[in-house]
Amino acid sequence: MAVNTAARGTSAGVDPSGPNKPTPRRYLAPLLLPAVILLALLSIYPFVWLIYMSFNAVGLAPGAPNEFVGFDNWSRMFSDSQYWESWGILAKYSVVSMVLEVGLGTLLAILLNRSKHEKLLITILLMPMMMAPVVAGLLWQYLYNGTFGWYFWILRSLGLLDEGTILGSSDIALWAIVAVDVWEWTPLVALIVLSGLKLVPQDQMEASWMDGAGPVRSFFQVALPAIKGSLMIAILLRFMDNIRIIDHFIALTGGGPANSTKILPLYLYEQSFSFFELGYGASIALTLLLVTILFGKLVVNRFEEREENPAKKDEELV
């Protein structure tokens, strides 16, 4: 029964593990404040600025007045068909790359988990992640190139691509960028899931075999519930990165052809730094931020859940 009280303690929000005993407050301030002030300067101040900008037509010249325009930027945004289309493209892009990355990554993790070459394979899998996304974009642009590109050549030689090129057709370009994303980031999903698999209780796995489950059934019955947390973390991290990082798009298509790859962050980039519609850009940025913060909340919750998990595990042994 001691177990139950401990569990209750956890859910009540009291530090469960014991090590984090309180440090007197007078010690906390000098430790915490430098970082908090620095971060506030670099994030809250800009955030307030961003809100301010979204209600103004922003003049960049010194002394040039920012003209208060009320909700003009906002109403423009809601009636801007490209804005909504770009959300759609972002969603399409994220969902498809997510499905592929989670599917492939989970499969990889399972295979890695049983592999004798786990370390070597992880090292290899890390390599794409080390590459600056913009360099990865350039590299793949070269691979896709209709004149020099090996991947173009391979697809043509295999007869998989009869007309058009990879980045030149609005049907394919987005999927071509998905492929780059899958190439660079599936390993990340695999690593996170792998760490989840390490937590899969082997005894439960065996119990389910003894119960009569086959490999597939026991995966769904035991492994999946155990790695669910990891999978969620992987998915959320990838979703947020898709919103955060647009380097692949900048290097590969710049949003073309025919806006078919203009995901929202890229549209924001274009409005802000090609057309210098900084006020309008700020409105778009705020909506993106809002969504990211929602995702962020989910991620942090997941992490906290996972940190509490090992405790649960111990308690099963008591």
Binding site: A57, L60, G164, T165, G168, G256, A258, N259, F273
Partner: protein, 514 residues
């Protein structure tokens, strides 16, 4: 953002010619202006030109420019010390991809920054966007304490039209001098034309020869022919290359050439040289624009299948790889077309003026011309810089656009000179194609100055009535983005030409608040 564009004084239609015509008035005006610039060395007197050049010894200038060969050439010449020896001034030359360059320059200038003293101002993508932030050069032209432009400021020394395009936007302020140029010429595989001319005649009833009267419809037929040929495993894979992908403004130029050829159709009812901050309703959506798009779509269907991903560079790569028979291309690419290492290059290419409009695609009664467009790069001075920096920068401008440096640049990097006299330098004259109009414009063969091969075609293409120089509008980049997107959609089969023209019209008019 609109308050940024309030013109110093409105002056629609004020052109260089009227400005130069009223010479006396101008002199008065200039005298008045020069007295304003009364700081530093402005009122000093110098014993000779050498001293004038040296007056800013020890200063440092920063020049932000595109990463194209002419700028690389200037950088090479600066780096070897030519300008420093003359003036004692150090120049840091920053090269970037044009969008990045524009972004940086625009951010700096709009915010009143002085990170860059000198800015490369390509006429439409850059100048039309940030024209208001450049120094008026008129006072400098008349300033005795500064060395003056070799050969003066006038048509005698420079290629026609270049001055107009590089010098003005929205006002009579003279904001730049032409420094390099990218003019469209028509490049085609002469070897293939000769080889298949007869066969083409059998099928189409006239010989496959390219000349000043060749129309876009002819080009379409040539392309169709080549593609049919390719279906039989002969010739090259594709008939014609287009500049549809990558950068919106090259896509806009690609369609603009064709549209202008038919009755000198323009996008806006504005003056090409001055441009306008309030261009009013666009002409997109009218019948001629629809016909033009139909022609463009037909050409697209006969072009490389990957045309949607090919920008100017990529289409040149494809041409060099021997995949394309014809391509309208900017004349600075001649250097790579003449490189014998390339399958499609190395003396197989002929250069001529862009095709003429075809009466079949002409709506109404306009003229049919050989529509030619360009990207003229000027150099301008950041108006926010200090007086001395601006004067030192002026020294750099007149040096960089001088005959000697342009000639040198052509040798070093295959630059694209803006002074007609460069073409008269004996070596370079010898390297040019045979004079235009002899029926054999395209000179073929290896050359030390491959770009010079295109000069005869450029000379005619960039002159009236063929040259189309506009539109200079503050929202040029937004405008071309709309055009490029809609045309790409049309080519991808999402929209027909008529709907495309209307879609462009709607969005552009909305952009300009019409």
């Amino acid at each position: 953002m609109s308050e940024l564009y309030l013109p110093p004084f409105a002056s629609r239609g004020f052109s260089r010619r009227s400005f130069l015509g009223g010479a006396a008035g101008a002199a008065l005006l200039l005298a008045g202006c020069s007295s304003e610039t009364g700081s530093g060395n402005a009122n000093r007197t110098f014993a000779n030109d050498a001293e004038k050049w040296k007056q800013y010894d020890g200063k440092k200038l920063t020049f932000i420019t595109e990463n194209t060969p002419p700028s690389s050439g200037i950088k090479a010449i600066v780096d070897r010390g030519d300008f420093k020896k003359l003036t004692g001034i150090d120049v840091e030359i920053l090269q970037n991809d044009l969008p990045v360059m524009l972004q940086k320059a625009e951010l700096d200038l709009r915010s009143g920054g002085t990170a860059y003293d000198l800015v490369y101002t390509q006429d439409k993508p850059v100048t039309s966007v940030i024209a208001d932030f450049f120094e008026d050069l008129r006072p400098y032209l008349e300033d005795d304490s500064l060395p003056q432009i070799e050969g003066g400021y006038g048509e005698e020394a420079w290629y026609p039209n270049y001055l107009d395009v590089a010098s003005f936007a929205y006002s009579d302020r003279l904001i730049g001098l032409p420094y390099d140029a990218a003019d469209s010429v028509f490049c085609y595989r002469r070897d293939l034309f000769e080889q298949y001319s007869g066969q083409f005649e059998d099928e189409f009833g006239y010989p496959m020869e390219y000349g000043p009267d060749t129309t876009w419809k002819n080009v379409l037929e040539f392309a169709t022919f080549f593609n049919q040929l390719h279906a039989k495993d002969a010739g090259v894979p594709f008939g014609v290359g287009l500049h549809l992908g990558q950068f919106a403004w090259t896509t806009q130029l690609d369609i603009q050439r064709i549209l202008y050829s038919h009755g000198q159709w323009r996008e806006f009812d504005i003056d090409d040289v001055q441009g306008s901050k309030e261009p009013g309703p666009t002409r997109w959506g009218d019948e001629q624009s629809v016909r033009g798009l139909e022609l463009y779509k037909a050409l697209f269907d006969q072009s490389t299948p990957d045309a949607l991903s090919l920008g100017t560079v990529e289409v040149a790569d494809a041409y060099n790889a021997g995949k394309i028979a014809m391509v309208p291309q900017f004349h600075e690419f001649a250097a790579s077309f003449e490189d014998p290492a390339n399958a499609g290059g190395g003396g197989k290419t002929a250069y001529d003026i862009c095709p003429k409009g075809d009466k079949e695609y002409l709506v109404g009664k306009g003229d049919l011309v050989n529509g030619t467009n360009c990207g003229i790069g000027g150099i301008s001075i950041n108006a926010a810089a200090s007086e001395d920096q601006k004067r030192a920068a002026y020294l750099f401008i007149i040096w960089a656009t001088s005959l000697d440096v342009q000639t040198e640049n052509l040798k070093v990097a295959g630059g694209a000179p803006t002074r007609a006299a460069v073409g008269e330098v004996p070596d370079i004259e010898a390297a040019q194609g045979t004079p235009y109009g002899t029926g054999d414009t395209g000179r073929v063969g290896p050359s030390d100055y491959p770009n010079a091969l295109t000069f005869p075609a450029v000379n005619v293409g960039m002159a009236d009535p063929n040259a189309v120089l506009g539109p200079k509008i503050p929202k040029f980049n937004q405008y071309v983005t709309i055009v490029a997107n809609e045309i790409q959609k049309m080519c991808a089969g999402d929209n027909n030409p008529e709907k495309t023209a209307k879609a462009i019209q709607t969005q552009v008019d909305e952009l300009h608040g019409v």
